[in-house]
Symmetry: C2
Subunit: 135 residues, 2 copies
DNA sequence: CTGGACCTTGACACGTGTGTCAAGGATAAA
DNA sequence: TTTATCCTTGACACACGTGTCAAGGTCCAG
């Protein structure tokens, strides 16, 4: 498929797809006329990239972990240098820390929302109520 | 405490602490001489901010969710406008998506690392081995 | 009192991800 | 054939988080 279609399917823009390519995240073929030609599996790939970017990982890291994310699983031994493995290991640790942080804070927000709702729900008719701000 | 001490305790820099203040994330008192004076609880606060920033949340969002994160729990009804609550709700959803993305990809990397290790571990003596790159 | 360590504000600069625009080529439909 | 739509590359610009530096104030130890 061409760049516009992939952009629509992944809710991105052609601009970004070209940027990801320049960062080495995707490498589409070229048609005879010079147009980029994307395989179908790149839809998932791009969505994966978007998710990771949104989760705080820079393209430099995403580029390194992408070989681990293939489906079907293809192990690239050429990439598996000791330094590379160490990078991956430390990166999974950072990801774990991020997951913990996000989970903890999300749950705190949920609890907050739960309390606020439980206080406002019982009001069934337009009743005058005054909430004193705690500050 | 003063800015330098807080910076050390949170592994940041005075520069960043002033930046977070300008973004409205923290509001230290001022001593008579103009120096910022930070309460102890701000250590955790700053660590929280750092974690969220590293997880992809912008200061604009962090500022909005910080009131939910107080310990002990202090509900600020003044902040609980309907739009605010909607923002928080949609933000928890984004956080959930981030968590899922990070977890999924972290586990994929772990599996990859597991396979690579299981293939290289059995080598106990320096044996000549050739791994054909899959590319 | 002087030196050093710390604080203040303000400015300039950088990397990264993204938006937008210009100038031109490819292609398909009227 | 013209027109519209898509593609190409390249450039300029922006927001954001961060580093660094300058010029000066505060304070403590020697």
């Amino acid at each position: 498929m061409r760049i516009g279609e992939l952009a629509q399917l992944t809710e991105t823009t052609p601009r970004l797809l070209r940027y990801y390519e320049k960062q080495g995240l995707i490498s589409p073929r070229r048609a005879a006329n010079g147009y980029r030609d994307y395989d179908d599996y790149l839809v998932d790939r791009v969505l994966q990239i978007r998710g990771l970017l949104d989760s705080g990982l820079p393209t430099r890291i995403i580029k390194q972990i992408l070989p681990c994310l293939g489906t079907p699983r293809t192990i690239h031994f050429a990439d598996a240098t000791p330094e590379m493995l160490a990078t991956l290991e430390s990166e999974t640790e950072r990801m774990t820390r991020r997951i913990e942080c996000l989970t903890h804070n999300r749950d705190a927000i949920r609890e907050y929302l739960g309390v606020v709702k439980s206080l406002s729900e019982p009001v069934r008719e337009p009743v005058a109520r005054v909430f004193e701000p705690s500050a």
